[in-house]
Amino acid sequence: MPSLKQIRNRIRSVKSTQQITRVMQMVSASKLARAQNLLFQALPYARELEALMGRIVAGLPSGPEAPPVPNPFLQARSEMRRGCLVVFTSDRGLCGAYNNNVIGLAERHLAGDRSRWTLACVGKKGRAYFAKRGWSIGYEMIDTQGRVQPQQVKDLSHYLASGFQSGQFEGVLFAATSFHSVSRFGPKLVRFLPIEPVAHEGKADDYLFEPGPREVLDRLVPEFLSAKLNTTLYEALASEHAARMMAMRNATDNASEMIQTLTLQMNKARQASITKEIAEIVGGAEAIKG
């Protein structure tokens, strides 16, 4: 049985840890609100671009005789011999299973095939994980300082687009986290390149293009890709903060429970020492009486 003093010290230390986790929980909550806001602001634009892309592609001539889609990023490949996988993790830890989930998904997909895959890492956690296991990291985007930095996004998007165009890889996949709500988010694998247009329902529209389909696509595709990359990053950021908030809430709750148990122990120890003292006094008095 630990002494009264030892228990008191432990309670004090658990309390100060709890204070820290509680503050971290609150900080994450406010960061989450901000990230969520940014995501929901960016979504209508990205969705509309996606739908527009789907409608344009549906309206292009198709079939075996048709000319190829007038944009290299839209040309479907029959197989992907060399690919690039972008792993979206966080720079910092203490966010529960957030990073593990994404890394697990990436691992399953890579299946250890180092000759086939080029790895690109967003966030220090993913880079550290794969570097430790001997993967060479083709590109990294770290130190985002908890924000989506336009210049970094541009550089990453340039890396992916130029690698795809030069044939260094024939496809780009994202292992990221999709965010639906504070309690609903999880890892997902999405294709970035070549672009898979969303299926368009109903009859295809017969569009007039000004100046022409090729020129419109030349301008639309980069915009589409950058919007897609941006929303993926916003989703990852919001999920990270949500995961951290939940992890910290659990830690705070655990600390409360621990303080309760320790307080009980402390009271028992105190009572035991009082009982012992009384017994000694009574015993002493009995002895004097003789």
Partner: protein
């Protein structure tokens, strides 16, 4: 009296406008583009210039555009642009 149709303007940050208008003028890549109701399906890349539209009540608005896209489809005009500037 020109028939009203729906105009939507969506920027990177928000849905900036969604309502009925009776005419739109936009800086298309082949010169300024005037759109009335029941325009044929069209997609164009926009160039820097002025976007102008009039609501059925006669209310007129105009914005500065840097770049973007304009789609006309089934009597709905959608403008996607990265930024809208006040004129």
């Amino acid at each position: 009296m020109p028939a009203p149709y729906r105009l939507r303007i969506i920027t990177r940050e928000k849905v900036a406008y969604d309502g009925q208008v009776d005419s739109v003028m936009a800086p298309g890549s082949r010169g300024s583009l005037g759109i009335w109701a029941h325009h044929a399906a069209l997609i164009t890349a926009l160039v820097p210039g002025r976007l102008w539209f009039r609501e059925p009540g006669g209310n007129e608005s105009s914005f500065r555009l840097q770049k973007g896209f304009l789609e006309v489809r089934q009597n709905v005009v959608t403008i996607l642009t990265d930024e809208l500037g006040k004129t």
